[in-house]
């Protein structure tokens, strides 16, 4: 694995190159029969999902269908009750303590509520985990952070604290913060749902760019246009299971399942 972000030839590695050289199958994430309950609420009722390296999978579905919980299970913020989750061919379901490292170094997540650290400016937000978790030096971390913030269009706001940034800007910083850890898989949990309409595009543009560069992404979203244009695969979830799965042209364009049709009918009316 390319640990220091440099390949042998010395050129800046592309994201595709950075991802999972150790998994020959090309499957970054695989879920089999994943269950999760909160009390009596059976939120995930046996989810199967496969995400190939370098692809974008959009997860759509009504509120309460288990989409967010699914993402939170993948990086073990919410440990699943049953089933197996494999990341790059390694089962992580029972991982605890130090083993969480394996998961969290490979999986980045961006949240609906940004969750930037309010007591730090944009640059410090992106640097913190680099120095504390990856053990990079201050200057290394800063260099990396600056280049990532430039990439998400935040070069002018390095020293700005989150409360002085718009939601869209905060979300772009949050994306840079996750990317700084050089994840092999990025999870996006309704990242535009808390944004004012005019700010959604700037975040989606960053995500499109990322997808174009070959990042493996699982995107929980209500943005049907994004799913149609960017996703390689779309999974429609309802009642804690994946009801329909396939290419966007199939799932969104020509759904087979009644529930998918109903949901799309409701969403696309607007």
């Amino acid at each position: 694995m390319v640990a220091d972000g440099q390949t042998a030839s010395g050129h800046e590695p592309t994201i595709g190159e950075l991802q999972g050289a150790e998994d020959p199958s090309g499957t970054t994430l695989s879920l089999r029969g994943v269950h999760k309950s909160f009390g009596n609420l059976h939120v995930l009722a046996g989810v199967d999902l496969e995400v190939k390296r370098g692809t974008v999978t959009c997860v759509i579905g009504p509120s309460g269908s288990g989409k967010s919980t699914l993402l939170r299970c993948v990086n073990l913020l919410t440990p699943p009750d049953r089933g197996t989750i494999m990341i790059e061919g390694k089962e992580i379901t029972q991982f605890k303590g130090d083993n969480l490292d394996y998961v969290r170094r490979r999986v980045g997540i961006v949240f609906q509520q940004f969750n930037l650290f309010p007591h730090m400016n944009a640059l410090e937000n992106v640097c913190l985990a680099q120095t504390k978790v990856l053990g990079r030096s201050e200057s290394e971390a800063k260099e990396k952070a600056e280049s990532l913030l430039r990439r998400v269009g935040m070069a002018e706001k390095l020293e700005t604290h989150p409360d002085q940034l718009s939601g869209g800007q905060q979300q772009r910083v949050a994306i840079a913060r996750a990317l700084a850890m050089e994840p092999h898989l990025m999870l996006f949990d309704e990242v535009t749902s808390a944004l004012d309409p005019e700010l959604i595009k700037e975040v989606l543009d960053v995500m499109k760019e990322l997808a174009a560069e070959g990042m493996t992404m699982v995107v929980v979203t209500h943005e049907m246009n994004f799913a149609r244009d960017v996703a390689d695969r779309v999974a429609f979830m309802d009642g804690g299971v994946v009801v329909e799965y396939g290419a966007p042209s199939e799932v969104l364009g020509n759904p087979r399942e009644e529930r998918t049709k109903q949901f799309l009918g409701l969403v696309l009316e607007h």
Partner: protein, 263 residues
């Protein structure tokens, strides 16, 4: 009327006893500042221990909770007397060397140090609860963000949660400090010649309360500005929150995480 004035505001008595009363008040200040700082630190330690996660964490969590409950439930006066008796016992039995059992460090008398210990034990528990409220007021998403970036629980607390909590708790901690300062007068029962004790001595020998009143005035000279500062800090914090100064990443009321939000 004149008698009352003479009893409480006899300027001659005040003038004559001023140096003594001031010396006593100086003890009060030293005791307050030292015990205040130690309580701040001890309280933070307790608050973090109280938050220890996991099943094994209960081994640390439960004794900490018990300690905090007990200390918050006991009058400060009893704690002072117990600490005093305990150290006296240790000195007598020879379990502790005399320099520690009867401390005279930095030229301060031993009741001063017993007072520091007793007040820190009590106010550490109060302040732990204040910190706890502060820690719990930091949105859960902050810990999750830190953990998802690979930080350990300890790192998330140290670099993300506690720095934010400390900001939130400055006003309530200052409030506790004012109370602590007033409670230092209780150390007079074990013979510390602090301001109240000086006043009482004069009251008993001269049958006049003016020295005590002078001590009261000295207290107010310090505590009232602190109270004003406290109000200012609270007002400023509220203004900040009104304009969304919490960082804008706190959950909106309708989105407060119940652990089920967004499932």
């Amino acid at each position: 009327m004149e008698e009352i004035l003479k009893e409480y505001f006899d300027l001659d008595v005040m003038r004559d006893t001023f140096p003594e009363v001031l010396a006593g008040f100086w003890f009060t200040i030293k005791l307050s500042v030292l015990a205040g700082i130690l309580s701040l630190l001890w309280g933070l330690v307790l608050a973090v221990l109280r938050q220890t996660p996991g099943k094994l964490g209960a081994i640390i969590r439960w004794p900490t909770i018990a300690y905090i409950d007990i200390m918050r439930g006991l009058p400060q006066l009893i704690v002072i007397l117990l600490v005093f008796g305990f150290f006296g016992e240790l000195a007598e039995s020879g379990l502790l060397p005399t320099e520690i059992a009867i401390p005279r460090w930095f030229g301060q008398p031993d009741p001063f140090w017993y007072g520091v210990v007793a007040i820190t034990l009590t106010y550490g528990a109060y302040m732990a609860e204040v910190y706890r409220a502060g820690i719990e007021a930091v949105p859960k998403g902050q810990t999750e963000a830190a953990r998802s970036l690979g930080m350990s629980y300890g790192q998330a607390m140290r670099f993300v949660v506690v720095p934010q909590a400390v900001r939130k708790v400055v006003p309530p901690l200052l409030n506790d400090f004012i109370a602590l300062m007033k409670d230092t007068s209780l150390v007079s029962v074990i013979g510390l010649l602090e301001v109240v004790q000086v006043g009482r001595d004069v009251q008993q020998t001269d049958l006049n309360s003016s020295a005590l009143m002078l001590g009261a005035i000295m207290f107010l000279v310090v505590t009232i500005p602190l109270a004003r500062l406290l109000d200012y800090l609270i007002a400023r914090q509220q203004r900040n929150e009104m304009r969304g100064g919490t960082g804008g990443d706190g959950p909106r009321p309708e989105q407060v995480s119940t652990g089920l939000a967004g499932v």
